[in-house]
């Protein structure tokens, strides 16, 4: 079948089942935009206000659907504006296909107007990328791009197509199979390693599971729960593993690491076996690496062979898809009672409480707002966060009954992720409740995307945890830089007026009594809502592992918070 390059690109997207594209037009991708109406409504395009928003929205769309997210940008600045979003998807193993227009072939490499070597720029942050110079290659390249993005350890793929290639006519030939001799992701683990892992688990007296993003990516929720229950093993989830295991499960322990549960950091230090599943022993999880889990042997279940042995030396390594690995492991795992270990974990939880705060504080505490957001949502919503203090509290207090409902920027830590990411989630899950928990600093990095929210009337509920600072920077400056608060205080705009300018309902809460009514009003409203919550400005996020310290050196909650728990416990005993 003869068609233009632009038609081929969209035909390929349709065949790959793409329903939503996030993008912004420009000179070098206009043929693509010119062709879009032919594919409507099968493929819907959402016009973002900045290309970074397109990449983040596509990223979040991919996270909650499990299918590659797609974004469009023009050449030069359009393409370079995607870079942060592509890097974010790269760090968090998210399948993303970015399609950029490029200057016409005769201008490539000659500093043409709006030319940037985007394939060169994105080499270190993509699984693979393509510059298509022949229109007849488009179907093969697009097929490969989707295949590479979504298989093995998922990640972003960029396809750069010059404008004249989009306009040229060629023969559309759809390859039935992808053949890449240099790309063969592992699925099935070595059976000997599975047996070894099962034996290590049975022999272990003090095991812990550390479950990461891989559990969610491979949809191994059921298999993870089966392993935990069958083997009788407590489950810790990393930041990106949150919502991979039911938070109300008796074996659930919460998050570990820099702002993780104090009890987890101490438990990891006492454990004799760590089972890492779909996680990479990131520095935010391990603290100082040489003191990480000093007594433990490691079982590492991981799809990417390059992650095995990178940070820790595993005693057993199951290289393959997390779900397949767990299915095989679960067949061999045997139950074992570990009364001493569970008693010790209960003791650690009692001695090192990590989730309390004074509920009667004069000012609104950010923890209170976040906990109330979870409560009013009844555990049945998607929660998208930015990066910083509010993100860590959102992770600590996470409570939802929905698997894969916590969407956050982990590896890259991209402030401003929350606004476009919430858009991506809401478009992927139209009937569902989506909360964007925002920082006042990060919100201002991407708040132009409120235009998208208003244009498509996406009923997202934005809660700005407004402490008038880059809160995590302020916390580090106060703890490690002698309280020298340089460039962390923010002169904020009136967020309510900003939302109103977009025609979005906006509320403000400055006193504690106003928080829950505002949240409830937001839920009752059909369309998008923004709530500007003025919280205590100098609240620090604890527990905290100081940078460069070991997990054993975790700083717990402030003494007066711990006192609260003690008094509550005493009162209960007295009763």
């Amino acid at each position: 079948m003869e068609m233009t390059g632009a038609e081929m690109i969209l035909e390929c997207l349709a065949r790959e089942g793409v329903e939503a594209i996030f993008g912004l037009p420009g000179g070098a991708n206009l043929p693509l935009y010119d062709t879009l109406p032919k594919f409507y409504p099968k493929i819907r395009h959402y016009l973002v206000r900045h290309e970074q928003g397109a990449a983040h929205a596509a990223d979040a769309y991919a996270r909650v659907t499990g299918r590659p997210g797609v974004c469009f940008a023009t050449s030069g600045p359009g393409a370079t504006n995607l870079v942060t979003g592509i890097a974010n998807a790269w760090m968090d193993s998210v399948p993303l296909v970015a399609i950029t227009g490029s200057v016409i072939r005769p201008l490539i490499g000659r500093d043409g107007f709006q030319e940037a070597d985007i394939t060169g720029i994105t080499i270190p942050i993509t699984k693979h990328n393509y510059l298509v110079l022949d229109v007849n290659e488009i179907p093969r390249v697009m097929r490969e791009a989707f295949y590479i993005a979504s298989t093995g350890r998922p990640g972003p793929v960029l396809v750069d197509i010059p404008r004249d290639v989009q306009q040229e006519r060629g023969q559309f030939y759809w390859p039935e199979k992808v053949e890449l001799r240099g790309y063969r992701p592992r699925i099935y683990p070595d059976p000997a390693e599975v047996e070894k892992a099962a034996r290590l688990i049975y022999e272990s007296e003090r095991p812990l599971i550390l479950a990461g993003h891989g559990v969610i990516i491979s949809q191994a929720y059921y298999e993870l729960k089966e392993l935990a229950e069958k083997g009788n093993i407590p489950v810790i989830t990393t930041l990106l593993g949150i919502s991979g295991f039911p938070p109300d499960h008796p074996l659930y322990m919460g998050m570990p690491g820099m702002h993780g549960m104090h009890w987890n950091n101490l438990a990891i230090s006492e454990a004799d076996l760590i089972i890492g599943i779909g996680m990479r022993f990131d520095d935010r999880v391990t603290g100082r690496l040489k003191d990480f889990a000093p007594l433990a042997k490691i079982v590492h279940i991981e799809v990417d062979p390059a992650e095995v042995g990178k940070n820790v030396r595993p005693a057993a390594a199951l290289v393959g898809d997390a779900r397949v690995c767990l299915q095989q492991l679960n067949r061999l795992v045997q139950h074992r009672e570990r009364p001493d270990w569970f008693a010790r974990l209960d003791e650690l939880k009692r001695e090192h409480p990590s989730l309390v705060y004074p509920e009667d504080a004069a000012q609104i505490l950010p923890q209170y707002v976040i906990q109330k957001i979870y409560e009013v949502s009844g555990g049945d919503a998607y929660f998208v966060t930015g990066v910083g203090q509010h993100q860590m509290w959102a992770a600590q207090f996470f409570w939802s009954r929905k698997p894969n409902s916590f969407v956050t920027s982990g590896g890259l830590g991209t402030m401003g992720f929350e606004v476009p990411a919430a858009i991506g989630v809401q478009i992927a899950k139209p009937g569902e409740l989506v909360w964007a928990i925002c920082g006042d600093g990060g919100f201002q990095m991407t708040m132009e995307e409120l235009g998208v929210v208003a244009e498509y009337d996406l009923p997202i509920k934005f809660a700005i945890i407004n402490n008038g600072h880059h809160g995590m920077v302020r916390q580090w400056q106060s703890l490690f830089y002698r309280g020298n608060l340089v460039a962390s205080p923010l002169k904020n705009p009136d967020f309510v007026k900003i939302a109103e300018a977009y025609g979005i309902l906006a509320l403000r809460a400055t006193r504690r009594e106003e928080v829950v009514p505002a949240l409830e009003r937001a839920l009752a409203h059909q369309g998008p809502v923004l709530i500007d919550v003025h919280v205590k400005q100098d609240e620090d996020c604890f527990p905290m592992v100081p940078p460069g310290a070991s997990l054993q050196e975790t700083i717990g909650l402030p003494k007066e918070y711990i006192e609260l728990v003690r008094r509550r416990q005493m009162a209960e005993v007295g009763r």
Partner: protein, 188 residues
């Protein structure tokens, strides 16, 4: 001999089979650069299979090359890669050395060339070009001897290496079935 030593430093020898496409070298070099490796030498050329090139890298072994090799193996354009530093290999390098000479000392140079079983491939009234093949040590030694006559320039190919015996360095893997993620249960 395999884990080469030069000037007291140790080196890894790594061979890779890669797609013969534009940008491949850039992708590979990018991975070494990210980890702060300096590439001592790199030789690239066609392999026995059309469309595939074979590369031989020599990198400083004071770093742990294992991580980079695994990262390189992940590249779509890298079909296979292998660190052969601890294996039984043959390794050779070729150099062209342009040496200043005249009728008076040309015979001295020819004598050195003979001893090293090298060749003279160009002669002019004021210079000769010597072609020498061998391991790095041999080429270094030859260069030292010719230095006294005045070396105008030297160019070296970098090491190329191959396993001894009948074994292929990059056996064609049986390869796993191509894998597309099939949906799991969406509940826990």
């Amino acid at each position: 001999m395999s884990e080469g030593k030069r000037n007291g430093r140790r080196f890894h020898t790594i061979i890779a089979l890669v797609e013969d496409r534009p940008g491949v070298l850039n992708r590979i070099a990018s991975k070494w650069r990210q980890r702060g490796f300096n590439i001592e030498s790199l030789a690239v050329g066609h392999s026995e299979t059309p469309g595939l090139s074979r590369m031989t890298f020599v990198v400083d072994a004071s770093h742990d090359a294992d991580q980079v090799v695994k990262q390189l193996d992940k590249l779509v354009d890298v079909v296979d890669i292998r660190d052969v530093s601890h294996e039984d290999i043959v390794a050779r390098e070729m150099a062209l050395i342009k040496v200043r000479c005249d009728a008076g000392n040309r015979s001295h140079i020819i004598e050195i060339v003979d001893i090293f079983r090298a060749n003279i491939i160009d002669v002019s009234p004021e210079s000769v070009i010597v072609e020498v093949t061998g391991d790095e040590g041999k080429i270094d030694a030859m260069f030292e001897l010719l230095k006294d006559y005045g070396v105008i320039e030297m160019v070296r190919t970098g090491r190329v290496a191959m396993l001894r015996g009948a074994e292929a360095s990059h056996p064609v893997g049986e390869g796993e079935e191509s894998y597309e993620r099939y949906p799991g249960q969406e509940t826990w």
